[in-house]
């Protein structure tokens, strides 16, 4: 059975190694934002440190979608579900072991969040609020089964909120689900490796390092508009490879 850590090895490490060395010097000079320099380390070492930092989740867009949902627009909430259900599943997976149970808890957490949406004032980020609902839902679920919930301390919750700090994913997936996810990860991996260097670097710096377009433009020494175009072209190339897989699996349980 494929474990999540194996998938991580398939993706993150491979992509970071794929970043060309020609950008190493530039990244060492310009990574003031992260407060990290790599005087003696490789780019991959620096990138590994940086990868523990939160990826920009675009709070402003979330806020707009939440406001629309609060005004009765369920489809706007659906966009948030699409954006966060995997991340929330990953968080819940730290507490609930069985995959089917994880999905039940995630579904219940989203429903609770929707019901409580009128209480959300925007004082914190939407995902922070959502994750706390997810953690409480998981705890209540375990208590209802007579199991002792594993209490996440604040540091762990904070890690989880940062999306990528969670490495202790112990959920057991079904063989079918694991295989399907492995195929997607492999397709994404292969497509990225076959991308032109400038597209591969742009999408990697964006998705794994959470860098802004301005920062990427500085590292790649090109205009911001070029960065924007490269990231879009990379995404579209990968999406084109994924579409046949996703459409063939439509309405089919993975």
């Amino acid at each position: 059975m494929l474990q999540t850590k194996e998938l991580e090895k398939l993706t993150r490490a491979t992509f970071l190694e794929a970043v060309p060395s020609s950008y190493i010097n530039a990244s060492q000079k310009t990574d003031v934002r992260m407060g990290v320099t790599a005087k003696n380390g490789s780019f991959a070492e620096v990138a590994n440190k940086l990868s523990d930092m939160p990826v920009n989740s675009n709070r402003e867009l979330d806020r707009v979608l939440v406001e629309r949902a609060q005004a009765g627009d369920k489809k706007a909430f659906g966009l948030l579900v699409e954006k966060y259900h995997r991340k929330l599943g990953r968080l819940v997976g730290r507490m609930v072991r069985d995959q089917a149970e994880v999905e039940d808890v995630v579904q219940e957490a989203f429903i609770k969040a929707y019901r409580a949406l009128h209480n959300f004032r925007g004082d914190s980020a939407f995902y922070t609020w959502l994750y706390r609902i997810g953690i409480n839902t998981a705890k209540n679920y375990l208590v209802s089964l007579g199991r002792k919930p594993q209490v996440l301390n604040d540091v762990e919750i904070e890690d989880a909120e940062n999306f990528d700090g969670v490495t202790d994913m112990r959920t057991m997936e079904t063989p079918e689900t694991a295989m399907a996810n492995k195929q997607i990860a492999q397709t994404v991996n292969d497509t990225i490796n076959n991308l032109p260097e400038e597209l591969r670097t742009a999408i990697t710096l964006r998705e794994l390092e959470g860098m802004s377009y301005e920062e990427i433009a500085e590292i790649m020494q090109c205009p911001i508009g070029t960065v924007r175009s490269r990231i879009f072209r990379a995404r579209e190339t990968i999406a084109a490879k994924l579409r046949p897989m996703l459409s063939s699996a439509e309405n089919k349980r993975w």
Partner: protein
């Protein structure tokens, strides 16, 4: 429009200008799929793939049974105020302000000119101390339309 969506996901597109993108994602299947696929790609790259792929569809199906939330709260008003505040900082605001200032300036100029003209129409005793003989002597070289007015305030047709 997909390239704009890509930038919007990354927080690199002005949210105030994103209305058409958000609307398109709700009515255009291709845009909605792009939203799903772009997030899937990001999660796959970060090793965040797990669970069944139809989970989001199941969640939305369950949400359909939920009463629609209608919660216009204080926060929304605050947000609107913030947006208005942001708009003040935009070039659009300044262009409108500049146009208004220009109109006000031109209007003021016209008003002052009219005021000046009306003042010119009031009689002024310019030549009260000038001898009548002097004025009569110079009427011949003055413009015909002005000749009538260049005379002493105390002048009368009878020469008094």
């Amino acid at each position: 429009m997909k390239n704009q969506l890509s930038a919007l996901i990354d927080g690199e597109f002005d949210i105030a200008e994103a209305e058409h993108i958000i609307t398109a994602m709700k009515v255009n299947g291709e845009m909605k799929e792009a939203w799903k696929q772009y997030h899937l790609i990001g999660d796959a790259m970060r090793g965040n793939l797990h669970g069944s792929r139809d989970l989001s569809a199941k969640i939305m199906q369950a949400l359909e049974a939920e009463p629609t939330v209608l919660a216009v709260n204080k926060q929304a008003k605050v947000v609107v105020a913030e947006i208005k505040k942001r708009e003040i900082k935009t070039p659009m605001f300044w262009s409108v302000a500049a146009s208004f200032a220009a109109v006000m300036f031109v209007g003021l100029m016209v008003f002052e000119m009219q005021l000046g003209e009306s003042e010119d129409m009031t009689p002024v005793e310019l030549a009260s101390s000038v001898p009548i003989e002097y004025l009569q002597a110079h009427q011949s070289i003055a413009p015909s339309s002005a000749a009538y007015y260049i005379q002493a305030a105390s002048f009368t047709d009878s020469g008094q």
